[in-house]
């Protein structure tokens, strides 16, 4: 549409004498702009409608439900149930706080380990791998992120579970496979199986944007490989490192299937708590309050991380 405008405008001085023509030309331009905006709105409309109807309104329902009083034995709150903040207040009980701290602690451990392991691998693939090897690595990594969550969980259960392949080795080593420490470790392993390939993919992008000359310059000035990476490469890749950590953390705290299966009911994440509110005791108001708190905490996390990122990015 812009091109239509620029075609007409150069002729304006000549046409100045002929006012009606100018007016009709202007009208045409305005008309074309209106049509362009209209077609944009029409193109956006279906997706916006789906998001408002099936995401926006449902979220408002959750918010409303979270302030309703629940009577045990019913499914969800009764219509017009009195308002209360009880559903939020009870989350401060130590029992509930434990679910939150457990989820955040395990997700944090997994994200930290994932980024630490992923960085050297991503650096290697981005800098030293031949093009065939690079292609193979990419295929493998994308394949692993595409792998069905259930296949992953089943495979890990088959390998590390209480009846799994490693069970005889673990019992020979004297590891208690029913202890909560072992279960926590298996959950972290489950989270890592997803977050390591994801972090590597994000960090490959970050390393590729970094000028290799900078690290080489540090080394030619006498720095060892280790110190040149610590003082040059890593500070310059901080953006990628933070975003890999953030993605791993987001995936970790919202994990559902991994703790559900690998936790064997002994370890539960917040997602599992919400699901049990829904499926076992049908206490929707409490589930809704937990959902709202979980969303607020996720937003807070993203906010803190982006702040941290701006602080670190001064380099």
């Amino acid at each position: 549409m812009k091109s239509g405008g620029s075609q007409v405008l150069p002729h304006l001085p000549e046409a100045a004498a002929n006012a009606p023509i100018v007016k009709s030309a202007q009208k045409r331009i305005v008309g074309a702009r209106v049509r362009a905006v209209k077609s944009q709105v029409l193109l956006l409309l279906p997706a916006v409608a789906v998001f408002v109807l099936f995401l926006g309104l449902p979220m408002l329902t959750v918010l409303n439900e979270s302030f309703r009083t629940f009577e045990p034995g019913r499914i969800g709150s009764v219509e017009g149930a009195p308002l209360t903040i009880e559903n939020y207040a009870e989350l401060f009980l130590p029992v509930y706080m434990r679910y939150f701290s457990q989820t955040y602690f395990l997700a944090f451990c997994a994200s930290l380990i994932a980024v630490l392991i992923a960085f050297p691998i991503a650096y290697f693939i981005a800098r030293y791998a031949s093009s065939t090897m690079r292609k193979a690595a990419m295929t493998l990594l994308i394949g692993l992120t595409f792998l069905s969550a259930l296949v992953r969980v089943y495979a890990l259960q088959l390998a590390f579970g209480s009846v799994g392949i490693f069970a005889p080795i673990m019992s020979a080593l004297g590891v208690n496979m029913n202890g909560s420490l072992y279960i926590n470790c298996v959950i972290v392993v489950g989270l890592l199986h997803y977050s390591i390939p994801m972090s590597i993919l994000i960090l490959i992008g970050a390393v590729q944007q970094l000028n290799p000359r900078l690290t080489e310059a540090a080394q030619s000035l006498g720095a060892s490989a280790l110190s040149s990476h610590l003082t040059v490469t890593i500070p310059l890749c901080i953006r990628g490192l933070v975003s890999a950590f953030l993605v791993s953390m987001t995936l970790g705290i919202s994990a559902f299937i991994i703790p559900w299966i690998l936790g064997r009911g002994r370890v539960m994440f917040i997602s599992n708590l919400i699901y049990s509110r829904f499926s076992e005791i049908t206490n929707y108001p409490s589930g809704a309050a937990i959902s709202i708190v979980m969303m607020a905490l996720s937003l807070l996390l993203i906010f803190i991380m982006s702040r941290l990122f701006t602080l670190l990015d001064r380099t």
Binding site: A47, L55, P58, A225, S243
Partner: protein, 275 residues
């Protein structure tokens, strides 16, 4: 100087070790599952299997419970792919023509479901839809899957459109094409690969989703992952390994398709998962 050399050698050795351990860690469970699916024993025994057979695949084939879930999932994924691609591609086209500020804002809004836990989306949708209680299970599942697949179709359409410069469309219109002709002869053919990649993502994530489907399924209509998760929790046996091998096969097919339409390197270059 000598100590620096030593430090560098240690660094190189430890990076190699990290790579080796990680590759084993990532691939071992998958390989174990693939082998155990062909185990001839009736129970889960030590690895590797002593005898091979296809008995678990036959059991998987004959299991009405899994098979009905599989059929539902494929139908659902096809429907989701068609609707999400159409909506995502048109929204992506509209977004690409916006001013940079609006473009960022709208894209962030549409990508937001990717940071929301699936449990919350499923729970919210279940409560909202049960207020009216008019939709049957299949359309409910479709609505839930659209929310998590449209972000990918929009994103990939935008990736496909980034290479196309506005001058091509302008050239077409200065040669006398009207808006519709320029769209169908220039923009759409060039954005085609990005849109196709979005469709592949939509299919893959719809086939894979458990959390949202778990809330919206019922006893008669359920998806394949919901059926599998029920089975994993009740009888842990090797029929599931056979089903897992089938899903891995599907992953490979999708991966090949993705490589063909867009090239795997390009998927990463643009950072699909950046939040």
């Amino acid at each position: 100087m000598r100590s620096k050399r030593n430090a560098d050698v240690i660094l190189a050795v430890s990076v190699t070790a990290i790579i080796a351990v990680t590759v084993v860690f990532l691939l071992f469970p998958v390989i174990v599952t693939a082998f155990m699916a062909f185990d001839a024993r009736e129970f889960i025994g030590p690895f590797p299997p002593t005898d091979l057979s296809t008995q678990w695949f036959v059991k998987f084939w004959n299991s009405g419970y899994l098979w009905s879930g599989f059929k539902n999932s494929v139908q659902l994924a096809v429907a989701v792919t068609v609707v999400a691609t159409a909506m995502g591609a048109s929204a992506g086209l509209a977004i690409s023509r916006m001013s940079p500020r609006w473009r960022d804002l709208t894209t962030t809004a549409f990508l937001s479901p990717l940071v929301l836990p699936g449990v919350i989306i499923g729970f919210a949708l279940l409560m909202f839809l049960s207020v009216f209680n008019v939709l049957p299970v299949f359309p409910r599942l479709l609505c839930g899957h659209l929310i998590v697949t449209i972000p990918y179709t929009i994103r990939m359409t935008l990736v496909g459109l980034t290479g196309i410069s506005a001058t091509l469309v302008e050239a077409a219109s200065s040669l006398g094409a009207n808006e519709r002709q320029a769209f169908f002869t220039i923009t759409l053919p060039l954005a085609k690969n990005g849109i196709a990649a979005g469709a592949i993502f939509a299919f893959a994530f719809s086939m894979d989703d458990v959390t949202i489907s778990l809330f919206l399924s019922d006893y008669d209509t359920y998806t394949f992952p919901v059926a599998l998760v029920g089975l994993i929790r009740s009888h842990f046996e090797l029929t599931i390994a056979a089903a897992a091998v089938a899903l891995m096969g599907l992953t490979v097919v999708l991966l090949l398709a993705l490589d063909r339409v867009l090239g795997l390197e390009r998927v990463i270059g643009q950072g699909v998962y950046r939040t």
